[in-house]
């Protein structure tokens, strides 16, 4: 009768809560998302392919994935340093820094977008200096990278922090007692132990960046072929009543997101297997 067969438990309320959970999940998430998939099947494959590979779309992929990758890499490096100093060192203002790391989560993306634009535009606080050096940030691909770095930072820091805190100090002591210098200990013992967490944080940051919209649209300038991200292109197509095109593009992005989600789950599974496997 019920495919979700449960083991007996005296706790009441299983049927009611599970029923509501499945109902609500279907209503809000699954049915709308499957609508997208069904809708895209109304296109023929050649049409679909043509629509998701036209030059303007290809340019948007290049910018979206390129800038997301750059942002995630910057975050992997600096996020590591931030997480390391927050866990291992004491310094004035540490608590505030720790709390503010989540700002990109908490700040509405549109607000981040206009704030970053104000800073990096030609006569902004930083933009004017960059301009003097001949570097253009706002309304150029660099601006997109800046925005995507901003919104991806907490993912790397928050994934690494618990992993660094969980590092067994005896490991480092053992390495030191075996004659390793600090740098060797760091590269050979610490970094490999943190690699799964670092990769997970990197992947989460990358995944978030790919779907990002609000913080980018203000700073990017939205020039077709040059500074137009894929999310914006979906909206543009929708506003031009090109529903099929928008749907096709959305499906591509959805599949990419799911693949990334899968990769992240595999990463987490791998790290838990690798480090906690033998212990029953």
């Amino acid at each position: 009768m019920n495919p979700l067969k449960k083991k007996h438990s005296v706790l009441p309320g299983f049927g009611l809560t599970l029923g509501y959970t499945v109902f609500y999940l279907c209503l809000i998430v699954l049915i709308p998302l499957s609508g997208l998939v069904v809708r895209s099947t109304t296109m023929t494959l050649p049409d679909f392919w043509a629509s998701v590979t036209e030059p303007r779309v290809m340019a948007s992929y290049k910018l979206t994935f390129g800038a997301s990758l750059a942002g995630a890499l910057i975050n992997a490096v600096f996020g590591f340093i931030v997480a390391w100093t927050l866990v291992r060192y004491k310094f004035p203002g540490k608590r505030i820094v720790d709390a503010i790391v989540d700002l990109p989560f908490a700040l509405p993306t549109a607000v981040s977008g206009i704030a970053l634009t104000a800073i990096y535009s030609k006569n902004g606080w930083l933009g004017q200096y960059l301009e003097a050096w001949g570097i253009k940030a706002a309304f150029y691909p660099l601006g997109v990278v800046i925005a995507l770095t901003f919104i991806g930072l907490p993912f790397v820091v928050r994934t690494l922090q618990p992993a660094i805190a969980d590092l067994d100090p005896e490991l480092e002591e053992a390495a030191a007692s075996l004659g390793a210098r600090r740098l060797q200990t760091f590269l050979r013992v610490i970094v490999p132990s943190l690699l799964p967490a670092l990769l997970t944080g990197f992947a989460l940051s990358f995944a978030r960046a790919i779907g990002e919209y609000g913080s980018v649209v203000f700073i990017s300038g939205n020039m077709p072929m040059r500074t137009e991200i894929t999310s914006l292109l979906i909206i543009t197509k929708l506003e031009q009543y090109d529903y099929a095109g928008a749907t096709a593009l959305a499906l591509v992005m959805l599949i990419v997101s799911f693949l990334l989600l899968l990769a992240i789950n595999v990463l987490q599974w791998w790290s838990s297997r690798r480090f906690h496997g033998g212990i029953a």
């Binding site: 809000i28 908490a106 770095t149 929708l238």
Partner: protein, 297 residues
């Protein structure tokens, strides 16, 4: 005592600190990088918002909130949050009860599906509702026949907000309730408490901080969501603009002071969220410390 000191010099402690600690100059450099990076990327934007909002003085700043459209945007944002947060709170509690307190086939699949909205780009979240309820959508013709407006109206905005904030409460509660196990609930049942009383008197007090944490994050996202609602709102001033959308409209009209003024309200909300979040995290860690069983291990 002097002889003791010579037998047990304080050296071992120093040696230990040295093996696990980078040299001072490395630490100074790393801390400097951290402060510079966080300052540049996180503090600077906050400062920029306030500066831009107050560029033409406090009067102009306050004037921005006199605008009827701004007030309507604030009101709509509050409505969207007031519906979506309780809806997802009830869902989160129900899902956590079913998924954390019971074991059944398909459980892990459901846990993954609940996280799905986080993996979906906000723009796509908006798009799916347009495809469902828009004029060109599945239910569009039927809805327009019956004069029901969802897309480019408040219901669509609320739906999108519920979608993007869907997992927040559930994902805080499920791991915690699973970790806490069923023993306290069983004990309550054996003592004669009903299921409902067990839930309210035993389960809820045990997860109250995580619950609050989830609600805080859910609320912040609900009030701040931009991409998804931007797709379904239609940007009708005074009617279907939430605060983030209103910021965009003002900004695109080059009304920077007003845009940053509304943005500053949202930034304030973000800061309050962060402060509450830190406070709740601190409380949660404290309860953790309290409940380390001395008898175990």
């Amino acid at each position: 005592m002097a002889s003791l000191d010579t037998i047990y010099p304080a050296v071992p402690i120093k040696v230990k600190a040295a093996t696990n600690q980078e040299p001072l100059w490395v630490r100074v450099i790393l801390i400097t990088i951290t402060l510079a990076f966080i300052g540049l990327f996180l503090f600077l934007p906050l400062a920029a918002i306030l500066t831009e909002a107050l560029r033409k003085g406090l009067g102009a700043y306050l004037e921005s909130f006199r605008d009827e459209d701004a007030l309507a945007a604030i009101k709509l944002t509050l409505i969207a949050a007031a519906i979506s947060v309780p809806a997802n709170l009830v869902f989160g509690a129900a899902a956590a009860w079913a998924l954390a307190k019971f074991d059944f086939r398909g459980r892990n699949v459901l846990v993954t599906l609940i996280d799905l909205p986080f993996a979906v780009s906000p723009v796509i979240a908006g798009l799916v509702f347009v495809l469902l309820f828009g004029l060109q959508g599945w239910l569009g013709p039927w809805l327009s026949e019956h004069d029901i407006k969802i897309i480019f109206a408040v219901p669509g905005i609320v739906l999108c907000t519920i979608f993007v904030t869907f997992p927040f409460v559930a994902r805080e509660l499920i791991p915690l309730m699973q970790e806490q196990g069923n023993e306290e609930e069983m004990a309550a049942l054996v003592l004669g408490a009903s299921g409902w009383k067990t839930f309210w008197r035993v389960t809820v007090p045990n997860v109250k901080w995580a619950l609050l944490y989830g609600v805080i994050l859910c609320n912040a996202r609900a009030m701040g969501e931009f991409g998804a609602v931007s797709v379904v709102s239609g940007h009708i001033r005074g009617k279907t603009n939430t605060m983030p959308l209103h910021v965009e409209v003002l900004y695109n009209e080059y009304n920077f002071v007003a845009a940053f003024a509304v943005a500053s309200l949202l930034a304030m909300l973000a800061l309050v969220t962060l402060a509450l979040k830190s406070a709740v995290e601190w409380r949660m860690n404290r309860t953790d410390v309290d409940t380390i069983p001395p008898g175990k291990e």
